[in-house]
């Protein structure tokens, strides 16, 4: 069970999650400082480590739309946040699976800041309101990447298979 620390609406863009002016910073070890940099109060809470790992951001539809910048995922992963949204934009979803950021798709989710959410099997329970919501599993096509613990290790495995097989 974890607490909702930020509630956002539909169409949260990667420009809002990780503003363009910090894009020259690329390494996952360095991006966390700029998470939601234009929302100064929330950025400060993250940077001062006031929020325990697993804390939840709740968004609406199309979370992570816009730019493909991977910093928008590594910055959230760096703070070990969980993102619950009604649905996600394609590239953000792929990037999250690739880097191992925890996402939960719950099309009907209703939650406020301060509510506690818990996963119960295939449902998401808002323990504060007492309501439970259906979740949509992540794309099956990408299961192998999730099982491997992310795209780096999955690609390494595939690369070794390819190289050991030799040229076609």
């Amino acid at each position: 069970m974890a607490r909702v620390v930020l509630k956002l609406g539909d169409d949260v863009s990667t420009d809002v999650i990780y503003p363009g002016r910090y894009m020259a910073t690329v390494l996952p070890s360095e991006t966390p400082q700029f998470a939601f940099a234009d929302m100064a109060d929330f950025n400060m809470k993250l940077k001062s480590r006031q929020l325990p790992p697993g804390s939840i951001i709740v968004g609406g539809k199309n979370f992570g739309c816009g730019s493909s910048r991977e910093q928008a995922v590594s910055t959230l992963k760096g703070h070990e946040l969980t993102i619950v949204a009604k649905d996600f934009a394609r590239i953000f979803l792929q990037n999250s699976i690739n880097l191992g950021l925890t996402l939960v798709t719950a099309p009907d989710i209703e939650a406020q800041e301060g509510d506690n959410l818990a996963i119960e099997g295939e449902r998401l329970l808002n323990t504060t309101s007492g309501k439970s919501y259906a979740t949509v599993p992540l794309p099956k096509a990408r299961q192998a990447i999730m099982d491997a613990g992310g795209l780096i290790s999955y690609s390494r495995k595939r690369l070794l298979e390819k190289l050991q097989k030799g040229p076609p």
Binding site: D10, D11, S13, D15, V16, P19, G20, R21, M23, A24, T25, V26, L27, D38, K61, N62, C65, G66, S67, S68, R69, E70, Q71, V73, D87, A89, R90, I91, Q94, N95, N98, L99, P139, K140, A141, R142, A144, I145, G150, L151, I152, Y154, S155, R156, R158, L159, L160, K162, L163
Partner: protein, 431 residues
Amino acid sequence: MGMTVVEKILARASGHQSVKVGDVVEPRIDLAMSHENAALVINQFLEVYRDTGYEPRVWDASRVAIIFDHRVPAESPKTASNQKKIREFVTKHAISKFHDIRGDIGGICHQILPESGYVRPGFVVVGTDSHTTSHGALGAFSFGMGATEMASVWALGIAVNIEVPATIKVNVTGRFAPFVGPKDLILHLIGKLSAQGANFRVIEFHGETIGKMPTSGRLVICNMSVEAGATSGIVPADGETLRYLRNEAEVTDPVEAVLPDSDAVYDRIVNINVGGLDPQVACPHTVDNVKPVGKVVGTRVNQIVIGSCTNGRLDDLQIAAHILRGNKVAQNTRMLVFPASGKIYRQAIEQGLVAEFMRAGAVVMNPGCGPCLGVHEGALGDGEVALSTTNRNFKGRMGNPNSEVYLCSPAVAAASAIAGMIVDPRKGGLH
């Protein structure tokens, strides 16, 4: 069962007779593009190779393209160091499709790829930039991805575990009114579909209006397809595609179009007649907040931006210069022009357009992405309003969360520069 263009391209690229929506395929990649974020791709690529005992090697150096455009010339030591690291990698791995900060071959990636003849009909193109959808304008399946996914492509030469997307067919008929064009069409479509309306889908463009539209306009509509959430936009290749490749991209080798079957299955079909279409404006802070220009006429603007991967091509600069001719940019409004490539910049100089802009009071900058995403030049002050031909108006997009961005065509932008407020380019004695 018939196939859409993208189904055909994916079937061919992954060695299948046919594919259908939802199939998982691993297409071979024909072209893999990155810009300054190649610095992160390199980092992740070396991670893929770590502890394998093999020397890191890009699967096919001739299919990797790297174009510096986001922060050119470098705005900070950090960017300059990233660019230096990328140059060293490019040399070491003999990457030939490298476009450094130069006046001859430099420019914005989504103009450099088509104008250099790197994109062909039927190609699978991937890029670490969401506007990689642009290259569907040449009948390729072209989509954006993150840096780690690109690192995987560099290592393997395929995109792993791709789900075949559904396709929305958009039929466009009718003739644009004067000062109305492709930008207005795509803004109108995004408003109609919403920012999520094409999520996980391809938009395939058809109809007489598209048939008559030059590749420069097709690049505009495919570029912004992602603003409706689309995986890619695509215009099936035709005579215009061949003309562009031969005459403008100097491609001499054979070009083969991939066309949809007549019984292809579409997720939905959208019909648009552009005959009565007004100039369109996307209002703050989402691209689907689209209104006919009449609804926002009179809005004061502090900065006009004409350029970018969306509208920095020669015909965009021509119409803007035409409108500005003999006029001045309004007091208290500044106008910045960013041609999309060095080649377009030179053509604009040769045709006298740059002189027209400067006489009117505009500042002509070097090609680059800078102001569009608030990373380099053209920042807005608190409470300021920009009217821009770029593709996004999210809160903070131009570098300041306390500012507003409206999106429009070059014609609306140029006419509004003269007035210092948003105006309809069809009014005010322009012809």
